[in-house]
């Protein structure tokens, strides 16, 4: 992929040089027409290469996205575990409170 990116960059620079050259020639001259035809042909190839790059580098993103999703899931699970631990403590606390109220109610009724 690095070679493809480099090729696009080199072609882009060449295209820029051609355009800068065109900008310095009178548009009604013969040289302008000739260079413009060459520029347009070069632009066509540059565009094709750019499209090829975006289409073929998509699989890199798909692979990395999957790997990172796993990491995120594990990190989220670690956080959830702690929240679960807190909820368990809270549930036990509530249960003990209920038992306490229940015993207190029985003592009060008996006395």
């Amino acid at each position: 992929m690095a070679e493809l990116v480099d090729s696009i960059l080199v072609m882009g620079k060449t295209l820029n040089s051609m355009n800068i050259r065109l900008s310095n020639i009178h548009p009604l001259s013969e040289d302008y027409q000739k260079l413009e035809v060459m520029r347009d042909a070069f632009r066509q190839r540059y565009d094709m290469l750019v499209k090829y790059f975006f289409e073929h580098s998509a699989k890199r993103f798909i692979a990395v996205d999957g790997e990172l999703a796993k990491v995120n899931e594990e990190a989220q699970a670690a956080l959830n575990k702690l929240e679960k631990m807190q909820k368990t403590l809270d549930t036990i606390t509530k249960l003990i409170g209920l038992v306490d109220s229940f015993i207190t109610a029985i003592i009060t009724a008996v006395v």
Binding site: M1, A2, V5, I8, L9, G12, L15, N16, N19, I20, L22, S23, H26, P27, L28, Y32, R43, Y46, D47, V50, K51, F53, F54, E55, S57, A58, R60, F61, I62, A63, V64, D65, E67, L68, A69, K70, V71, N72, E74, A75, Q76, A78, L79, K81, L82, E83, M85, Q86, L89, D90, I92, T93, I96, G97, V99, D100, I103, T104, I107
Partner: protein
Amino acid sequence: MLLKNQKIKIAFLLICMFCFQISCTTNRYRQPILKFQAASAVVTSTARESLTELNRSEISRIILQRRLKGQTIFAKDIEDAKKIKFKDLKVRLDALDRLDEYANLLVSIANSDSPDNIAKSATDLNTAITNLAVTVNNLAGGSNDSFKSKFSFAGSILSEILRAFAQKKIKEALNLAISKGKEPVNELIDAIGDDLTVAFSVTETGLIELRTELLRKYNVVASTSPVNENQLEVLSNKIIATNNSIEILEFANPKAALNQMKKAHSKIVLHAETRTPATFADAVEEIEAFVGAVQRLSAAVKELKNQDV
């Protein structure tokens, strides 16, 4: 009896010191990770915008160039101007979302209030147990005061142990996420870097070509008698705006910010693996440099948007 009490007090002090140490190491992460997340959010949003805008700006350029040349425009020309297909764009946007999610999770872990919540729940549990024990003790006709003090002391130790346990788990989760995220995050930064390098080249060549066409049209109008002053004014304003964009574009190149992001992330990983004051200082330094690069990038992107091309 006195010796036994002192031993318990020393043990309690040691537990508190241990908890404090764990708490400090997790807290130290908070600020740098928050900065890293904020800066990487700017990078991902710039990347998102560059990629989604790429087709739009190419279509606009083609239409403008055709108009300057007095050429016809068909739907096929507009379709051909698109550089990236929708399905390929979506894959990239999903991956950028995942990177944001990763950075947000690091912040969530580093800022988690679970240790405090767990310690509070443990204290509540201890209170409930003490109350129940007192009720049962009353039932048996015992004395309340010594009973209560023993329970509450044990409860405060339990609460501190659970807090330390939660803090240890938080630290482990953070280190795990950082070290496991090392490869995919670096690979993603590289992939985004390549994408943005190509997108940058497309934008640059597009702007230079547009300026060429504007200059061509300007020179044709200027060479035609009588000279149309209004047309020349419109064209010259367009040339100025396009030229400004070309000059600002160099500063809006996200490559520097992405390189700095990779460096900062590598230093965070190194610190998670070795955990020395020196690696921590290095990580903070690289994160600061990353933030600086992102600030420069944001300013250039903002200025670029202000140009009416």
